[in-house]
């Protein structure tokens, strides 16, 4: 398809722990379209950041299998020199923590300027500086000429994140990967940064992969959502349907866990337990099975797959059909020790 920017097939990213490799991303297939915000949502340990880093080729000690198709490249095995042409030019990335993502010993201007310099040697120094100042202005930083000369530690967290964004969009990338871009920020700053990303998206014509744990951010930003659990995608669906008609038990539990106005101070209906650690991930059968033991064994598939239950709506494993929250489970006791 023409408007598919990136197509990922059976991606498996494994890390070495002790003598064995453990897959943090396990058999993930998805695609990113032009002009779309694809949110990848899940809790810590689900593999969402490992997925983002695999797309950008930023893992240095991981074993990556499968395909990540972009234009006529398979990003899983392009060489370093091709990478340095693609990264920053075609693929941009926004990182989670603006306090550590910038070089403390370089001025803001020099750091943005470097991104331009690396992909366009034709610009003269003056032209490049003008462009940097334009970028600083574009990401909503006041007094760009002044900020150009400043060092990161002189800026607030929100401003630093804008600088990180300016670096990411410096060369108008086609694909922008935002790894928890607002997690480290205060609420009012978070909404400003999200609005900025949204604005930039309109003007840039890029596809955005938004990695987040926050369903509020998903609701505000995403077009399509992939929910990840234990290294796998358990549900992919467009954002409206996700909030209206979530199917996978994990998605449903996740949605229930956000306190909101309608629920008032009612008890939150969630499934107990956590995403298991990498070494302890169940590798066979439905990975969510252990957390919903009141659902009959036969409801699960032996090798769960993503089923297209409606156009564009995929759910892993058949257990969603029989799933219900336990009626009288005493919260806090049943599985706290699992």
């Amino acid at each position: 398809m023409a408007d598919k920017l990136i197509e990922i097939n059976h991606l498996k990213t494994s890390f070495r722990i002790g003598d064995d490799y453990y897959a943090a991303v396990d058999d993930v297939s998805l695609s990113l379209n032009k002009n779309e915000v694809l949110a990848i949502v899940g809790e810590s340990g689900c593999g969402k950041s490992a997925l983002a880093f695999s797309i950008m080729g930023l893992h240095n000690r991981a074993k990556i299998e499968g395909e990540i198709l972009y234009r006529n490249y398979n990003l899983v095995d392009v060489d370093e020199s091709t990478w340095s042409k693609l990264r920053g030019k075609n693929l941009g990335m926004i990182f989670q923590d603006p306090l550590t993502a910038l070089n403390p010993l370089m001025t803001v201007g020099a750091q943005i300027s470097e991104a331009l310099f690396l992909h366009n040697r034709k610009l003269s120094n003056e032209e490049r500086k003008a462009k940097v100042i334009e970028l600083i202005e574009k990401v909503g930083i006041p007094r760009p000429e002044h900020v150009y000369m400043q060092y990161p530690h002189e800026l607030s967290g929100g401003m630093r994140q804008r600088v990180v964004i300016a670096i990411a969009i410096a060369n108008d990338p086609e694909v922008l990967i935002a790894d928890e871009p607002t997690t480290a920020l205060d609420a009012t700053i978070q909404s400003q940064i999200l609005d900025l990303i949204r604005e930039l998206k309109e003007s840039m014509n890029a596809g955005i992969v938004l990695i987040t744990h926050d369903l509020g951010v998903v609701a505000e930003m995403a077009d399509r959502v992939a929910v990840m659990y234990a290294g796998q995608i358990v549900e992919i669906v467009d954002v409206h349907r996700l909030f209206e008609n979530p199917l996978h038990p994990y998605t449903r539990s996740l949605l229930n866990s956000i306190p909101n106005a309608e629920k008032g101070q009612e008890k939150l209906h969630v499934i107990q337990g956590i995403v298991p650690a990498l070494q302890n991930l169940p590798r066979e059968g439905c990975r969510f099975k252990d957390r919903i033991p009141w659902i009959d064994e036969s409801a699960h598939e032996t090798t769960p797959e993503l089923h297209e239950v409606a156009p564009g709506h995929f759910v892993r494993c058949t257990c969603y059909k029989q799933f219900h929250f336990p009626n009288e489970m005493k919260e806090g006791q049943a599985h706290a020790n699992s």
Binding site: G18, S49, A62, A277, Q279, N280
Partner: protein, 302 residues
């Protein structure tokens, strides 16, 4: 930290191992062949010199025999004799014991002062810390070697005790600085705050909460200082300002090498002592470095 490392370290935390510092240290030693053999070597040498010096007749070894000076190695004197006709091998055994003993003694004493000083400064912070740090800074600018030498020179009734006290007085700063900076970090952690809100006294928090969490870095620091202190003692004895003349140490044997004749032609007097110091310091450091790796999860092997 790169993402890979973050993911790895999370996994380490999930593993079911006791966080007891000593056990982790011990496991690292077992795993590290170099450190393990160093440790075994150290134990063998220590036991050897203790037994050896118990068997040797101290007076016999230090007895001046002017008819048998600078003798080359023979079956009688395995490593020959020095300028006073004293048996070098015997001096080597007793000297090693003395050097080791004073190294341990000075390390323990300066470690104790350093821990106390650092813990108080770091835990209370603020004005106390400020005053303590100024004192520490002052000690740090003193030219250590010269000051010690002057003290050794002017102390009346100079003895092993006064020697170790003088060394201790100018060697506690490293430990103090380390403990202080770690204690400053620890006291910001919420478990210390929690203990305070639970009504635990400051003294108890310092000793039962903060100190145990510093134990492994203290052990690392003290092991490495032990190696350093053995070197410092032998250096001072080499210059003639360490052990009193009558008490042989490894440095005393080395000091014979300041005589060019001895250095050039009678290697058996000084070279064994030099090698022994190297072996001792290397072994202690090997053990210390292995401890260090164990406390620094990033460097931990496997």
């Amino acid at each position: 930290m790169s993402k890979d490392v973050v993911i790895m370290s999370e996994q380490i935390e999930e593993s079911h191992e006791s966080p007891s510092g000593l056990k982790v240290l011990w496991r690292e030693i077992i795993r590290d062949k170099l450190a393990l053999s160093s440790l075994i070597l150290l134990i063998v040498i220590s036991i050897g010199v203790i037994i050896g010096s118990a068997i040797l007749d101290y007076d016999e070894v230090t007895k001046v025999d002017l008819f048998n000076t600078h003798a080359p190695p023979s079956s009688e004197n395995w490593l020959g004799t020095d300028y006073g006709g004293r048996d070098v091998f015997g001096q080597l055994i007793i000297g090693t014991r003395n050097s080791l003993a004073i190294g341990v003694l000075v390390t323990l004493m300066s470690g104790f002062i350093g821990i106390l000083f650092g813990l108080i400064a770091g835990y209370f912070g603020g004005t106390i810390d400020n005053i303590f740090m100024r004192i520490l800074d002052f000690f740090l600018i003193l030219p250590f070697l010269m000051i010690v030498i002057i003290f050794v020179a002017i102390v009346p009734k100079y003895s092993i005790i006064s020697f170790s006290l003088i060394m201790t007085a100018f060697l506690w700063m490293g430990t103090a600085r380390l403990v202080r900076s770690k204690a400053l970090q620890e006291r910001e952690l919420d478990y210390v705050n929690a203990a305070k809100t639970l009504g635990t006294s400051n003294l108890k928090i310092m000793l039962t909460h903060v100190l145990p969490n510093l134990s492994s870095i203290i052990i690392v620091n003290m092991t490495l200082s032990l190696a350093g202190n053995i070197g410092i003692e032998s250096g001072l004895s080499f210059l003639g300002f360490g052990f009193p003349e009558s008490t042989p140490s490894l440095g005393t044997l080395l000091s014979y090498a300041t005589n060019p004749q001895t250095l050039e032609y009678r290697w058996w007097i000084w070279l064994p002592a030099a090698i022994l110091i190297l072996i001792l310091m290397l072994s202690v450091r090997n053990v210390g470095e292995a401890f260090k790796r164990a406390t620094d999860a990033r460097q931990r092997r496997g």
